[in-house]
Symmetry: C2
Subunit: 456 residues, 2 copies
Amino acid sequence: MFDPIEKLKEYVRHASVSADPKFQSGMDGARDFVATLLRDMGFAVEVVPTALHPVILAKRGDNPAWPHVIIYGHYDVQPPDPLDQWHTKPFDPVIKDGRMYGRGTADNKGPLMAHLAAVGRLLEKNPNLPLRITFMVEGEEEIGSKHFKEFLLANKEKLRGDFVFLSDTGIPNPDQMVVTVGLRGMFACEVEITGPKSDLHSGMYGGVLMNPLQALAELCASLHTPDGRVNIPGFYDRVIEPEKWEREQLATLGLKEKDFAAFLGIKEFHTPPGYTPFEAIRFLPTLEFNGFSGGYQGEGTKTVIPAKARVKITCRLVPGQTPDNMRETILATIRARCPKGVTLTITEQHSAVPYVVIPPDRSNTPKDQSPVLARAFRALEQSATDVWGKPPLYLREGGSVGLIADLKQVLGLDAVMPGLFLPEDNLHAPNESFHLGVMQKGIELSEQTLAALAKQ
Amino acid sequence: MFDPIEKLKEYVRHASVSADPKFQSGMDGARDFVATLLRDMGFAVEVVPTALHPVILAKRGDNPAWPHVIIYGHYDVQPPDPLDQWHTKPFDPVIKDGRMYGRGTADNKGPLMAHLAAVGRLLEKNPNLPLRITFMVEGEEEIGSKHFKEFLLANKEKLRGDFVFLSDTGIPNPDQMVVTVGLRGMFACEVEITGPKSDLHSGMYGGVLMNPLQALAELCASLHTPDGRVNIPGFYDRVIEPEKWEREQLATLGLKEKDFAAFLGIKEFHTPPGYTPFEAIRFLPTLEFNGFSGGYQGEGTKTVIPAKARVKITCRLVPGQTPDNMRETILATIRARCPKGVTLTITEQHSAVPYVVIPPDRSNTPKDQSPVLARAFRALEQSATDVWGKPPLYLREGGSVGLIADLKQVLGLDAVMPGLFLPEDNLHAPNESFHLGVMQKGIELSEQTLAALAKQ
């Protein structure tokens, strides 16, 4: 069996930033790395082209009587900037205090490596394991899985499985397994305001026209109320309140607001009334500004009124909401709030439908839940209890993995999602890292779960 | 005599951006160019070091009975960005349709070249011209003449003149000379808001904390009222209303709002009530945002809540206001408007005192006005009338030339400022250019004015 830590290092060295074409060789390298590893494990590997970054599809086992698990991962990572805030080089992994530092270590190279190692071990012990396994590893997750739905539609026949198994969600600490049972969706857009036809001298022309930066600041400022709610009429209308057991599971976690504030490095929370920060993250939609730019940003001053200003906005959506049923609600308000005298341009960016799955044996478990899915949840519960010494919690999470909704919609498959990254892992931020103790537990969890599933 | 157009081309090729240390060789080149030209014209040239960019001081004539004119210019230019919006290379001057394109052609290399050529001609005709002339050409005008006041204090004795003569202001069209008799002052600062201790994933943490971009947008949005006034208590308290003759001179210009809006490329003006845009530019203070940044600004999306957001603000000040008497009014409001839960840091940047000079023979001309200054104004009026075929107008302008207030304060000298650049010249913006017909008129204006002054 390969050494998962050494292999992960090798994997992280491929700078596979899907958002930026100048990282093409990193994308190619990461994809080759995964394909080769799977081939060495005895899988039949296909690299399926898409309009941008290909998907790796690797299969073993062909007895239709065996359960069929589809293990998902992504080989692309977030851009590493701001580079000056990294303490180590983002694509030169370093192990320190039980963690591996590097872009993509936690999102999602480390967690995928845990499943690869689990399957490797399992097949080494039992090459005839009565389980069909398909690895499906895509390269566009960080850019919204742009062509993944097309890929699913085109490869539906190969993906007739029982459920999808993946780790691209989090746990609150190394001692508590959390199975993610819901993800927020997303609606993203870029809003540009154009004023004068070119940049103007702010002395010669200041004070007589609407400055695009001012107009955009006014528009942005209008989108929240002082109590932390999103100030868009109808924004909360379709929100489905969580089930009682979900709030209870969350309370069981015993998270402390004070610790959370200290972890984030903030003075206070700014959460809508009636929700703890932990609830707001999971159960409420948001509107966040991800980038704002316009005018001179260099050293010193430049007395300019810029011709344009731009803001990047993402709204997280919750069950009941979809990009389609929220689009007009959001965009109509943005249009209505644009000050006079300037021109507004909205460019829609990627979106994701929210997702919820109900584990077996809950008050609201669907009656028609697939037996293999129910077995998988039960196998996972047992393995997690063995490895962690206590049962897992089932929680929704604040992030979005839009493809989960696509898997449900296109393939009809639900997802079983044991989390493997920690809040301290700095996903999408400088100094991303992955906890190697959690990785070890993740390998055992995946191995035991799959073994149990194969036995039944 | 040298060819002023060829010489200007040569001058513009030196990329003398004072704000950015990587343009040091351009700064050195531009300075050497001016010093050499003045030496060739028979001036005694000194290059006087300052803490950053040296000042060129060049003198001719030493009979104390002669009037002494100090001709001011600056050899530094604005940064050329955004580079992708230039149609030609900013430091490779190109002549097209009677204009020379390039960074600094109008601000201030072309206008200075007009005075250099005028003096060159004058001295060629009469090497014994009974006039003391000192050229004083600095290299930090575009960064707020940072060390110019120190320079003036240290070189007071050499600068015992009668008035300062300069062209670093504008005219509305090539057919109307305007003498600038007032400039707005400036108060500049950068405001930074810090939220969480590092960039955060907007899915995992969105909706529970004050996003620094949102906080800064809210702060910025609070600084204007919908009618276009600055929303800072006390902001207009010290503003001195212009004299009646000033409003009349401005009305004489016959500027049309429709043409002005078309020139700026805006749909409508956003001017405080009771002022035309032309009046607001000259007579009212402003608060403008010159740059706003924070978060991801690259291609595509990055779902991040940035740790920091920054805005660059400049306030233009008018007579009655000074950076010192306005500082606390402005900063106290900015501090008070910062939303809770984030940290505000304000860095003050360069400032300038507003300036006004009253030409002779006006209702409010000071009784103790220097006779040589009055003669200079009258000589300029006559020359402008000869060259343009109609009398000049005397107007305040919206821009700031802070050093003018320093010249007044340190040397006790007023400034005589015939404008030479046009609205179309794109100062501080891409595709800056200078009208060569106006340059020619400027040479004649300067030559005749100085000749008349020498005669008297």
